[in-house]
């Protein structure tokens, strides 16, 4: 988990399989960081996510709701083709942007 104060952005790097079993463990630290920082943007990095099912969609939608309530937004970055296909099938792109970009350019001055 990374935070850039200048752009008020929280970056959460997700990895491995996102399913019903793992979703809860991923959700808690992200939500804690959001409540602590109250960011304007949440970037969910899917670059290292090897598998995702609808539990991952639930995870994204839940964070979108939370960020919308706080007046912020969510960006999903670097999903692998299969993960992106599932996101699009679920209509996630209506709630948040799905982009392929280097984190550095997204977060501006943040050095990781």
């Amino acid at each position: 988990m990374f935070y850039d104060g200048e752009t008020r952005t929280v970056l959460a790097e997700l990895s491995g399989d996102i399913d019903h079993c793992s979703a809860k463990g991923l959700r808690t630290p992200i939500d804690e960081e959001i409540m602590r920082r109250l960011p304007l943007r949440l970037i969910l990095d899917f670059g290292n996510v090897s598998f995702m099912d609808s539990s991952g969609i639930g995870l994204i939608i839940g964070r979108c709701k939370l960020m919308t309530d706080l007046g912020g937004s969510v960006i999903a970055v670097n999903p692998q083709p299969e993960v992106k296909k599932l996101m699009e099938l679920a209509g996630v792109q209506r709630l948040c942007s799905i982009v392929f970009k280097q984190r550095r350019s997204l977060i501006g001055g943040l050095t990781i």
């Binding site: 079993c21 598998f51 609808s54 969609i57």
Partner: protein
């Protein structure tokens, strides 16, 4: 779904409805079809469909309890994969409603209500049979655009 198709290979697994077995079920179906050398996107879709069906058993059928999940995989002639996932859980009273995209009985747990819609998209045929109080059986059929003829896998 026709069951008289010639069966080339078949495996039946029974496992408790523990959340960690979602991963096991995906690995099992991956292993079962590996001899066919499926394309990455096909394999991913099959694993996703299985994951959704098994998760439904865990989250809905046996909610707050642990019961048995039965998964049967068959490789049929013509490189078609038959998947049957069943439980003896609570059953579904309105299958049409359950299959509607975005419908869920567990919104508090961040269930997206997309399980059946995803199974439907990622397979060629989806059949859901259920009896409230007795259980649910989901059968899926998926043709693989395999690079290896299925008969070769017998040797």
């Amino acid at each position: 779904m026709k069951t008289k198709d010639k069966i080339i290979n078949r495996v039946t697994l029974r496992f408790p409805s523990l959340s960690e077995n979602e991963r096991f079920a995906r690995l099992a179906v991956s292993g079962f079809v590996s001899s066919l050398d499926p394309a990455l996107d096909e394999l991913s879709e099959i694993k996703t469909a299985v994951s959704e069906a098994v998760t439904n058993c865990i989250v809905h059928a046996y909610r707050d309890t642990v019961g048995e999940i039965r998964m049967e995989l068959r490789l049929l002639e013509g490189c078609r994969l038959y998947i049957s996932i069943s439980d003896k859980g609570c059953g579904i009273s309105d299958i049409d409603k359950a299959r509607e995209p975005l419908f869920t009985t567990a919104p508090d747990e961040e269930r997206a209500g997309l399980g059946f819609a995803i199974m439907e998209s990622f397979t060629d045929k989806l059949r859901v049979r259920s009896r409230p109080g007795h259980g649910t059986a989901v059968t899926m059929l998926r043709a693989l655009r395999t690079r290896k003829p299925a008969d070769e896998t017998r040797s």
